[in-house]
Symmetry: C2
Subunit: 311 residues, 2 copies
Amino acid sequence: MKNVTAFAPATVANVSCGFDILGFAVEEMGDKVTVSLSDTPGVRVVRIEGDGGRLPYETDKNTCSVALKAFAEHIGFEGGLEIELFKGLPLGSGMGSSAASSVAALEAANVLLGNPLEKKDLLPFAMKAEGVACGAEHADNVAPSLLGGFVLIRSYHPLDVTKLHVPKGLYCTLVHPHFELNTADSRSVLRQQVSLKDAIIQSGNIAGLVAGLFQEDMGLISRSLQDVIAEPSRSVLIPGFDEVKNAVKDIGALGVGISGSGPTTFILSPAQDVAYAAKEACLKVFEKIGLDVDIYVSAVNTKGTYVINKS
Amino acid sequence: MKNVTAFAPATVANVSCGFDILGFAVEEMGDKVTVSLSDTPGVRVVRIEGDGGRLPYETDKNTCSVALKAFAEHIGFEGGLEIELFKGLPLGSGMGSSAASSVAALEAANVLLGNPLEKKDLLPFAMKAEGVACGAEHADNVAPSLLGGFVLIRSYHPLDVTKLHVPKGLYCTLVHPHFELNTADSRSVLRQQVSLKDAIIQSGNIAGLVAGLFQEDMGLISRSLQDVIAEPSRSVLIPGFDEVKNAVKDIGALGVGISGSGPTTFILSPAQDVAYAAKEACLKVFEKIGLDVDIYVSAVNTKGTYVINKS
């Protein structure tokens, strides 16, 4: 085996009431990375496609090479690795684009080198890459992209990550307006103090969402998908957010939230047809607003990253 | 059938990171109430035992009669009901004493009158009684006393109550120091603003606790049993709290918290022998402090209130 190609899915972080602690992976969209053995020692990025020339080739800036350098050092691999990155996800969209790249690279390299680590143990290297891409070693995109499904990050110190149950039939509609949102702006609008009342409401909702996932109780999931902490301040930065919320209220969708720090909006639905109805409703919203938009419909991915080719 | 006697269990509310939203029921301790048909219309309290003469007989003050009056009005029952209350729980201890009384009365009356309502639909009448006993219509004691197990109160407006899974082997040690704590004091020490950071930590912990219960993951339950919102301010009012926490750290207990608003402390354990070891450790703590204490060990009750006699 001389090279391995892996796919890693797009992810939704900050899942509504799960602000900063919950993410999930989607099925259809994602990045592909091929990692090849090379006779020249060290990790190199040799090809990037689909990024419009915006991503760096420097090994200490590209998330794939940052992740692989940390991984290689950890397992004591001193040979050469070459990275080819095929972007399927738009950059800076709030769909976990940087996470998908580093996770696919890690999965490919781990399989290429004979699985020296278990999948879940690749997480710290992907988090390190997030630190380079986003300025903070967040796990809420990389963990679901790696492991699939809904993933709870209970704590960072120490790192405590748990995969939750995914009810059958859960679908997601991702609405990506062509609009760039500065992540720093999105962070800066958050209030640093919240009322005790809101903290309790948020606790009740995240507890209800987790219980609803395990019990496959779509009603409870829907009632729980309310974020009283981040969404009120952040949603004003996202064009069409309130309109999307209104538009899907009566078609049977479970809930709406900001994906990551936006500008993508996610809609959860209890079945595929509802997710497509949500897409139609959103197309009308953005036609009215006059903003270009990409809308994806996908099941929730439950297996995370996976190998698509070895040779 | 002329009379029915029901038992309703003690409960722990404010379960650590589940402050204000989560309660559970214990197996051994509780109140008993006999409700009898009477030819004289109206609801009356005719006997109270075990309260040291402290509970009122007035029908608009006693939690049993407040609950039954609301229940009778709701179902349109215009006959007579007589209440005999046998207190098994200490008053004002933080073990859901008032809740156990009203829940037992409701279960007995509902069965006596041929089950006009489902058990879960008795909740609003028990909450009304809590309003009289505590000044607020809390559900976090009455709901687990009625339904058993761990009960999440996601929201009050509208009321949204969900029973969670209870892992096999879960035991509780309740430590009740002979010390009266004014509930108003206990409320007044709570900060009305919390930092965004603490709100996120609390969310992560309650999500972890709920996931741990469903997955029967005792390690995750243990790591999640941390309350960063209420406990830091409230625990200083509770003699022995920090000492108990220290004493049970190394014997395999899952976690420690304030039961309701105290002064009772609860310890959750993954097995009966650990719960008894926690009892022994706590006895030593309070011997050293020089404060009398009652310590109870019990499984988590999963069935809630139940009838113990009909005649």
